[in-house]
């Protein structure tokens, strides 16, 4: 009976595949998230997730894969961000905000002009239950790529994140490494958007790392913790969706946010306890 309760969400026709995809995507995005926070690129990540909307809508209109649309959307978004950043007398925050607002608006305009795209809402909020074995395969390939890149570039990332000015003196090619970090961010945001939609993808990318870095300050352990939290949150979110009858991607996003808030709260309490005593 208990076994049935525990296994039911993972069994059946959708549980296992979507759980598998969520574990892979959640883990990969969680690990990348640690670097996103270390490089202080949370706003950029947030911007990417929203700004890739026109790409998703175009893909839905043309009938191409959403992942492809997301990647194209991120690249276009980055191009516009670079262009906006060159606007005179404009701070980077303002430039980002203008570009994102423009792109989200273009996404909405495209969606309203293109007749009969399959549920605009699912592009915004995603549906991880629709995972096919092909999706899982692509997700695995990307996750392996992300893992390899993180392992290979971890040292250089650490040097650059620690002190961007002195990193070049340590033999770190700052331009190349930043570009690699950016590419990783773009890929993970696209993968996350494919699963959780444009509006909830950010939770997958920064949430696990936010909680992890509150609990531990060591790089290695926060990478491990963020990966674990990202993977686990997907599965827990699936259970929540199964038993509470909530939309799956929203459940997952909420679980991740709870993890981040909970971890930060626990860390806050621990930091305060010695002073009380």
């Amino acid at each position: 009976m208990i076994a049935a309760t525990v296994l039911a969400p993972l069994g059946g026709d959708f549980g296992l595949l979507s759980a598998l995809e969520l574990v892979i995507v959640g883990g990969a995005c969680g690990a990348v998230g640690v670097w996103v926070l270390h490089f202080g690129r949370a706003i950029l990540a947030e911007s990417f997730t929203h700004a890739l909307l026109p790409g998703l809508v175009l893909a839905a209109i043309v009938g191409a894969g959403l992942l492809l649309g997301a990647v194209v959307g991120v690249i276009a978004a980055y191009g516009l961000l670079l262009l906006a950043a060159r606007a005179p007398k404009t701070s980077s925050g303002t430039a980002t905000s203008v570009s994102v607002t423009l792109l989200v608006a273009l996404g909405a305009l495209l969606a309203s002009s293109g007749n009969g795209i399959a549920s605009f809402e699912s592009l915004l909020f995603g549906n991880p239950l629709a995972a096919s074995s092909g999706d899982v395969l692509i997700a695995s390939a990307l996750a392996v790529g992300i893992a390899v890149a993180l392992t290979a570039l971890g040292g250089q990332f650490a040097a650059l994140a620690f002190d961007a000015r002195s990193a070049p003196t340590l033999g770190v090619n700052a331009g190349m490494v930043s570009a690699a970090a950016l590419a990783l961010l773009a890929v993970s945001v696209s993968v996350a958007a494919n699963v959780a939609g444009s509006l909830l993808a950010l939770a997958l990318v920064t949430g696990p790392a936010f909680g992890a870095s509150a609990v531990t300050h060591r790089l290695r352990s926060s990478l491990a913790l963020a990966t674990a939290a990202g993977s686990l949150s997907g599965v827990v979110g699936l259970y929540l969706s199964y038993y509470a009858d909530w939309p799956a991607s929203a459940s997952i996003a909420l679980v991740i946010c709870l993890w981040a808030a909970g971890a930060a709260a626990v860390a806050g309490l621990q930091a305060r306890t010695p002073r009380l005593g």
């Binding site: 007398k89 905000s97 203008v98 607002t101 989200v104 549920s119």
Partner: protein, 599 residues
């Protein structure tokens, strides 16, 4: 004043009441932008603005479910979210480790994602328990003219006065606080900073009904960012921001009205184009010295107008001035009306052929058409619930005629809606609706009553013939092969009329995505009943439905349920019913039985 005339003349375009309301809203928003927009730019608050706007989404959904006006819920939503952000930042600061700016941004981003997720859950619960949201999530996210009601204007006016007053007193301190936080920040006091955040929050809240939750920055951020490039004096910013916001807001509104675009998106696109145009010109001219404000305004206006020119699309008009003007919400209803009305009516269909009625958001032209119409026919139920805000906005002469009232109705498949809205897929209901349409048209235009009666009789005969031939064909299907699965509850009438059995459906509530458990239960049920096909509404076949069909190993049929398409074999309602029956019969019998075409 006809719709055609309105398309040619901007002044006519703005003459309906709802358009004037929108114009007033944009002017008030421009004032708010002038009061706080410059401070948002100079104090690096664009992300905060975007965050409070988006973070208001769950309260927005809750407010609409509770029947609170969208303007009031938006205001409460942004304030609540701004307070939560402030609390979270405060807690973060008291922690021994301290909070870096990067972490604060991450926290803000996560809070936004959590708010959107919460809003999605609430909207989904609403879908299953209540009828549906009267205002679509898209309208909440991207803005709509139809949400600008008297309450919105009242709230906007109050917020404008509040923000202008505060800015008048506090703007010196807002400026100093951003200039060098170490010293001037002291002089400026934290109270004025809190006032600034409060003003930004209520400003964003007030703009939500116009620009939507995701695009709060369309008028609050972009015009100010544009103005900043054009002047080096903080003193000149407010009037410049106001001028730019008015130009871009009105232009966006004009495009929204003329080309039926979501209001927030149209304004944001115009403003964004204006920003990049100004950036290009300023960058080029920078070497030759500062620009005069007048020149720069012209640049922004030109950039935005250029966009307006590019944004042209084919405008349809189908009014000949003489015939009775009728509005139909869906192509199905429009078909019935055309069959009965013939040449004597001119029908405007609100839902474009092929579009999803669940996601549909009535466009500005729809409101103008409703305002002009002699009769408005609606299909009824959750299929065109979006009509009601449009009717309200149009100040229509008479209430719409709900054809579902004349039909024999089935209960809704899910827990929520009072009845299943797809009645028109049963030929018997089409006949009943035809009689109702005939009576209403006669009432509206007694002079043409003979035409209407003759047409109606001919159409009723056609319905009867089609029904007989299709029933005969469907009856050839063996009893064991009559089970099908559907994506939504949209084929219940068709199945009952032709004796098929809907053994399971993927989503029980409206259009919202099924939960994991719900999905598994329906797939199990489908297996147990040995279904022969999975049927989904054409144009709305989702990845999930395709996946389910593959899992079950049955053909995936994309049939006409929610809509018709123009031009092909199913441009008429009877044609669509015939197509649907033929494809189902073909699929469940593996091509052994064919049905004759119906028109």
């Amino acid at each position: 004043m006809t719709l055609t005339a309105a398309l040619e003349n901007p002044f006519n375009l703005f003459s309906p009441l709802f358009a004037q309301r929108a114009l007033l809203a944009v002017l008030l928003l421009a004032l708010i932008a002038a009061a706080v927009g410059w401070a948002i730019i100079l104090r690096d608050l664009p992300f905060f603005t975007h965050a409070v706007g988006t973070g208001a989404y769950p309260v927005l959904v809750l407010g609409i479910l509770a029947g609170v006006s969208i303007a009031v819920s938006a205001l409460i939503g942004t304030l609540v979210f701004a307070l939560l952000l402030g609390l979270a930042a405060g807690i973060g600061r008291t922690r021994a480790s301290g909070t870096s700016a990067g972490r604060r941004d991450a926290l803000t981003g996560l809070a936004v994602a959590a708010a959107l997720a919460l809003g999605a859950v609430l909207a989904a619960r609403a879908g299953s328990e209540n009828a549906r949201l009267a205002i679509s999530p898209e309208a909440l996210l991207f803005g709509s003219l139809l949400t600008i009601d008297t309450a919105t204007l009242t709230v906007l006016a109050i917020v404008t006065v509040l923000v202008l007053t505060t800015a008048w007193f506090a703007s010196d301190r807002w400026l100093a606080g951003g200039f060098d936080p170490g010293v001037a920040g002291h002089l400026a006091s934290s109270r004025s900073d809190i006032a600034l955040l409060g003003c930004v929050a209520i400003g964003a809240g007030a703009s939500l009904p116009v620009t939507g939750s995701l695009l709060a920055g369309a008028l609050l951020i972009i015009p100010a960012a544009t103005a900043r490039m054009l002047t080096d004096r903080a003193r000149h910013l407010p009037p410049l921001v106001f001028a730019i916001a008015v130009v871009e807001g009105v232009l966006g509104l004009y495009l929204s009205l003329n080309f039926d675009l979501p209001t927030g998106a149209a304004i944001a696109a115009v403003a964004g184009a204006g920003f990049f145009a100004a950036a290009g010109v300023v960058a080029v001219r920078l070497a030759r010295g500062p620009l005069r404000p007048a020149v720069s305004m012209a640049v922004v206006a030109l950039g935005a107008v250029a966009l307006a020119g590019c944004g042209s699309s084919s405008s349809t008009s189908n009014s000949d001035g003489e015939a009775l003007r009728v509005v139909a919400t869906t192509p199905q209803v429009a078909d019935i009306v055309k069959q009965v009305g013939g040449e004597s009516v001119s029908v405007t269909t609100l839902l474009p052929a092929g579009a999803d009625p669940h996601d549909f958001e009535p466009k500005p032209k729809a409101v103008a058409a409703i305002a002009d119409a002699g009769v408005v026919f609606r299909s009824g139920g959750d299929l065109d619930a979006w009509l009601l805000p449009a009717v309200k906005a149009a100040n229509a002469k008479s209430a719409p005629v709900d054809l579902s009232r004349s039909a024999v109705l089935l209960p809704a498949g899910g827990t929520g809606e009072s009845f299943n809205a797809h009645w028109y897929l049963a030929p018997e209901n089409v006949a009943r609706a035809t009689q109702r349409v005939r009576d209403e048209l006669v009432k509206a235009d007694p002079d043409a009553r003979e035409t209407f009666r003759t047409n109606a009789t001919q159409y009723l005969d056609k319905i009867d013939a089609a029904n007989r031939s299709l029933s005969a064909c469907a009856s050839k299907v063996p009893d064991g092969d009559r089970s099908v699965m559907t994506g939504h509850n949209d084929f219940a009438y068709l199945a009952e009329a032709f004796d098929f059995k809907v053994a399971a459906q993927i989503a029980s509530n409206g259009e919202s995505e099924p939960s994991a458990s719900e999905l598994q239960k329906s797939v199990d049920r489908a297996r147990a009943a040995d279904v022969r096909a999975l049927i989904a509404s054409r144009g709305e076949v989702t990845k999930l439905e395709q996946e389910v069909a593959d899992k079950l190993g049955v053909p995936m049929l994309a049939l006409y349920a929610d809509n018709l398409t123009g031009g092909d074999d199913a441009s008429t309602l009877l044609g669509a019913i015939g197509y649907d029956v033929d494809r189902i019969v073909d699929a469940v019998t593996d091509g052994a039985v064919k049905c004759p075409a119906t028109q």
